[in-house]
């Protein structure tokens, strides 16, 4: 039975590593729903957050295969309930809409979105939340005409107290010294 899993991969900063990781999914015909890469809390160590829909048996195999990569320090997988996550969405509308519609301003407020840029021609709204929430706002805004819409990948943080990685890195340093 397929479920949504969020995989966190911690790695060295190596050109081409993203390619190596995505190959692991493509060769098993698993689609990547969302992908975010950036430097982690620890300098020099990069974090990949990958969201996929697959079975529990498959996710275990995939994560082990990712960890096998030489430049990967550690990989974890979490179900939706084990993490806290956010995605960011940006909506561009015509500034007319702002000035001619009372309804518009109320919509932005009730959805906890922010107006982050206003020019003569266009206005940009930002919302953070889960995919269904940002999708909901998009559908509501569509009546006013959305000029452009973009959604980011997922950033996720575990619901455990301490960062698992720091403990693991300390262990690694002991093994390798």
């Amino acid at each position: 039975m397929k479920e949504e899993f969020t995989i966190s991969v911690f790695s060295e900063n190596q050109v081409g590593l993203l390619n190596r990781i995505t190959i692991i999914f493509t060769r098993r015909h698993i689609n990547i729903e969302s992908l975010t890469v950036s430097e982690s809390a620890i300098k020099g160590i990069y974090k990949f957050t990958i969201v996929v829909n697959t079975t529990r048996i498959m996710i275990k195999k995939v994560v082990k295969h990712i960890e096998k990569l030489v430049e990967v320090l550690k990989a974890f997988y979490h179900t939706k309930d084990e993490i806290f996550y956010q995605e960011i969405a940006l909506y561009k509308v015509s500034t007319n809409v702002l000035t001619t519609n009372k309804e518009f301003e109320r919509l932005v407020r009730t959805h906890n979105a922010r107006i982050i840029e206003v020019t003569n021609d266009y206005t940009i709204i930002e919302k953070t939340g889960h995919k269904n929430e940002t999708q909901d706002l998009l559908e509501k805004l569509e009546q006013f005409g959305v000029l452009q819409f973009v959604r980011s990948g997922r950033v996720a943080i575990t619901k455990m107290k301490k960062e698992i990685l720091t403990k693991y890195l300390k262990k690694l340093e002991m093994v390798n010294s």
Binding site: N19, R27, K68
Partner: protein, 578 residues
């Protein structure tokens, strides 16, 4: 702990100045890693490196092959027999892409080879320049690690890292792509071997409790069964396997790549597992109560139908690559560690025992297999020469002491089944990929890696033609290889499947073959073609007596089928004998 080998310490390099070019740095780094043989083929982008290889003082020799695929397979076989890391050079573009089959082959069979390809100059990258190809992208799925060197200072560390990664943990191929401008740029050379990487744990610690748990299962098992695979050869754990089996009285079966880890005549050795393995090991897999799998990965050729595979048995999996554990079969005890280390600890915890009745059951299966299959194919009295006869005779004449190399197909299975190995690490074949054309270049690599041993290569008529050009390499380096072609004018294994599953519709499997001895003669290699059984002994004797390379073509039974066989989709216990 980092070992520093500065220029001054190397006799060879005292003649060169401290400031060297990238190309020289490549050669010096390889020397620092103890490399003595490179298999390769030059080209435009790699010329600077080849220039530094010319007339180099010291013990570094380059073997010029006739196709880069040959270099890749030769380097792999060299690594397999010598225990060293194989090294292979190729130029950019087509040179690099010609390596791909060989890299993939080394990858799936876990062999340490460092491939060095040249690349166009850095500022031409991505412009579709002449002979430019993204070999790093192409080889990503088939290398353990790869890297494009675009700064000359990176060369020593890149090579150090390459050797460390290739030959540690589960070995595998590594590729370095070096741009031409880097080869001619200069650097101050200093070499430091790589002994560890923060993100890489090649030798995991044995988790506490697992040895005791395993020992308990072993001590209580009534029908235990030990499987050995390539990992036993890589870990050089042959003595530990022997001691363990002898102490516990447990029968031992081998995968294709595990062959020659134990001598074939060991009293506890019961045969080969898998699709064309021996009858007993396959049947008994579904009767045992405990499987101890050491350095093998439950490949689909070994397991047959997984739904009916060893469901009644508990499984202990001793395997250095964590991603292989529970990948195919669910195991009961996972020991993610080196085979040798694990067996050393395990043997202290297991009780001395014997399972004579259980082992006798295997011997009974052996007798049945002998009557129905082995006798017919190894000692036929009439008809055309059969493949098994040839292998048996070669086995006797070489006393089981030769290094045996095969190509892929029927002759591979027959050789695996009927050659009686007496020496450790003597079987070279393409397992996971089943690459036709592997045989001849692999035999070249094996001979160069172990010049003092007899090397015999068995090929089919199809496979031999795929890399036939490597006879040029044999000729140039005067390698005294013994080559046997088992010619049935068919792509035998495919034909067998067409007979069994496609109602004998031999689509594109009949092959008209050339006069192989005549071709060999063109390469200065003597040879002979025989068709009759009575010619076989003398022909083989002549081949072995001749002090040099020799090619023997044997016209064999055209439509011989290899049995036993686990038909696709069936279980190991449904293995058929005829």
């Amino acid at each position: 702990m980092m070992e520093t080998l500065t220029l001054e310490k190397k006799k060879v390099v005292r003649k060169l100045s401290k400031r060297v070019t990238g190309a020289e740095a490549v050669i010096l780094s390889l020397l620092a890693e103890g490399v003595d043989t490179i298999f390769g083929y030059p080209g435009g982008a790699i010329m600077p490196i080849y220039d530094k290889l010319y007339n180099i003082p010291g013990k570094l020799r380059h073997i010029l092959v006739r196709h880069e695929q040959g270099a890749a397979h030769s380097a792999q076989a060299y690594a397999m027999v010598s225990g060293k890391v194989g090294v292979c050079f190729a130029t950019s573009g087509p040179g690099a892409t010609n390596l791909v089959t060989g890299i993939a082959n080394a990858n799936i069979d876990s062999v340490p080879v460092v491939f060095i390809t040249a690349q166009v100059i850095s500022n031409l990258l991505g412009t579709d320049a002449f002979q430019e190809i993204d070999i790093v992208g192409i080889s990503m799925p088939i290398t353990k690690w790869n890297y494009q060197v675009t700064k000359v200072e990176e060369i020593p560390d890149a090579i150090a890292k390459a050797f460390f990664i290739a030959n540690s943990g589960r070995p595998g191929p590594v590729l370095l792509d070096i741009t031409k401008d880097v080869q001619v740029a200069e650097l101050d050379f200093k070499y430091k071997k790589c002994t560890s990487l923060r993100s890489y744990i090649p030798y995991p610690e044995i988790k506490s409790g697992t040895i005791d748990a395993a020992a308990q299962l072993i001590n209580n098992a009534k029908k235990p069964f030990l499987f050995i695979g390539h990992g036993v050869r890589i870990s050089k754990a042959q003595q530990e396997v022997k001691n363990f089996a002898e102490k516990t009285g447990i029968p031992v079966a081998s995968t294709l790549l595990g062959l020659s880890a134990l001598p074939s005549n060991h009293p506890l050795y019961v045969g080969m597992l898998g699709m064309h393995g021996n009858y007993g090991p396959n049947i008994k897999t579904n009767e045992c109560d405990l499987i101890i799998a050491v350095g093998m990965r439950f490949d689909d050729r070994v397991t047959g139908n997984l739904k009916k595979y060893a469901k009644q048995a508990k499984i202990i999996h001793i395997e250095i690559d964590d991603s292989e554990i529970n990948k195919v079969v669910k195991v009961d005890i996972e020991i993610n560690a080196d085979a040798k280390k694990t067996l050393v600890e395990l043997i202290n915890k297991v009780k001395e025992k014997s399972h004579n009745e259980w082992v006798r059951e295997f011997k009974e299966c052996e007798k049945m297999e002998y009557d129905k299959v082995i006798n017919k194919c190894c000692s036929p009295k009439t008809g055309h020469i059969k493949m098994g006869e040839i292998v048996r005779k070669v086995s006797e004449k070489t006393k089981g002491e030769a290094i045996v190399v095969t190509d892929v197909g029927q002759q591979q299975m027959v050789t695996a089944r009927y050659y009686k190995f007496t020496k450790f690490n003597s079987f070279i074949t393409s397992g996971g990929m089943g690459t036709m054309g592997f045989g001849l270049p692999a035999a070249i690599g094996a001979k160069i890696g172990t010049p003092d041993r007899e090397v015999v290569s068995f090929s089919g008529d199809g496979g031999f033609q795929m890399t036939i050009q490597e006879m040029g390499t044999i000729m140039q380096y005067k390698l005294p290889l013994k080559m046997i072609i088992l010619n049935n004018n068919f792509l035998g294994m495919v034909r067998q499947w067409q007979e069994l599953f496609f109602k004998k519709r031999y689509s594109a499997t009949e092959m008209i073959t050339p006069n192989f001895p005549a071709i060999a003669k063109g390469y200065g290699i003597p040879g002979k073609k025989i068709t009759l059984r009575k010619e076989l002994d003398d022909a083989l004797d002549e081949m072995f007596a001749y002090k040099g390379a020799y090619l023997l073509e044997v016209l064999i039974e055209k439509e011989e089928n290899i049995f036993p066989m686990i038909l696709p989709g069936t279980s190991v216990s449904e293995i058929i004998l005829e």
